[in-house]
């Protein structure tokens, strides 16, 4: 299956089925908890406030991000988080496509607000290529180095 057969969908929490929610948390568990060996609480209570962007190839969920309207994660700014692509689907431009669509959605719905993200440091270049600028020093989040970045 090629990445060209992928379907990108954005749904608010309210529109997700229980099964879709489970699939999302399964993928996030694979990528963040197991993949990054992070003993963190992935279902952090914030998901009911978010829009959920899913990438499916056929019936399989292969990529994801969550999108926050302004005020739900950062005051005055929208946000994108939990950007994840299954290991076997990486290096095919899916992560970039997820970000482009997430940014387009937030810009269309909240044009007055910047987008702020808490980005893992090793991805700083990836986000810079999408127009984000670094607006903080490095800090630790779940024991991993992050920087705050902003897209105006």
């Amino acid at each position: 299956m090629t990445v060209k057969n992928s379907t990108y969908t954005i749904k608010h929490w309210d529109a997700l089925s229980t099964y879709e929610l489970y699939e999302i948390l399964h993928l996030r568990g694979k990528v963040f908890v197991v993949g990054q060996q992070c003993t963190c609480i992935d279902p952090d209570g914030k998901d009911p406030e978010a829009f959920h962007l899913t990438v499916k190839n056929g019936n399989t969920l292969i990529g994801y991000a969550r999108l926050f309207p302004p005020g739900k994660y950062y005051d005055g700014a929208a946000s994108i988080g939990r950007v994840a692509v299954l290991r076997e689907w990486r290096n095919q431009g899916i992560g970039k496509e997820i970000m482009k669509r997430g940014i387009a959605f937030l810009k269309a719905n909240f044009p007055e607000n910047p987008i702020i993200i808490s980005a893992q440091s090793y991805l700083e270049e990836f986000y810079k290529n999408l127009g984000f600028v670094t607006v903080s020093d490095e800090y630790l989040e779940e024991n991993m180095p992050h920087v705050r970045m902003k897209l105006s």
Binding site: L25, H26, V33, T39, C40, I41, P43
Partner: protein, 153 residues
């Protein structure tokens, strides 16, 4: 303290209930036990979910139950037995297990209940009638033993 216990199949769970039970499992099994394993393992769709709720309707205790063959061949199973940290030492885990065992005895009396129990809980499960049926092994890096409960008519 008044608690209520509900048993629900996966598709009877609300999104809020599913999210809360996965959150509680992450708090206990991933964070508290410092074990970065895949908690939503895709097996939940085949299970019954035992939800213990406090008077505010918050899930504070949990277990998942599998029919014969869904987790282990020839046996039913109970797993992810957990109680929210602030509700421990009140006998709630025993109540969750009693409910689970009662349900399995009624529905599948011909099958033993088999569990993969963390070793430090051998006494807890023995008090419920389970016997150890294996040597110790590691599961997700933590010591476990297999235990079984037989129903005698």
């Amino acid at each position: 303290m008044a608690v209520k216990i509900q048993l629900k199949r996966f598709d009877e769970l609300s999104k809020k209930e599913l999210y809360r039970l996965l959150q509680m499992r992450a708090e206990i099994f991933i964070k508290e036990q410092q074990c970065p394993y895949l908690d939503p393992d895709n097996k939940d769709v085949s299970a019954w979910h035992v939800l213990m709720k406090n008077p505010d309707e918050k899930i504070i205790g949990y277990a998942r139950i599998f029919p014969p063959g869904a987790y282990l061949p020839g046996a039913t199973a109970v797993g992810r037995v957990s109680v929210d940290r602030t509700y421990r030492k009140r006998g709630l885990a025993y109540r969750i297990m009693d409910k689970s065992i009662g349900f399995l005895k009624e529905k599948f009396p011909g099958y033993p209940v088999e569990i993969s129990a963390q070793s430090y809980l051998i006494g807890f499960y023995q008090n419920l009638g389970f016997v150890q049926v294996s040597n110790e092994y590691l599961e997700d890096g933590l010591p476990h033993v297999r235990m079984k409960l037989y129903f005698h008519s």
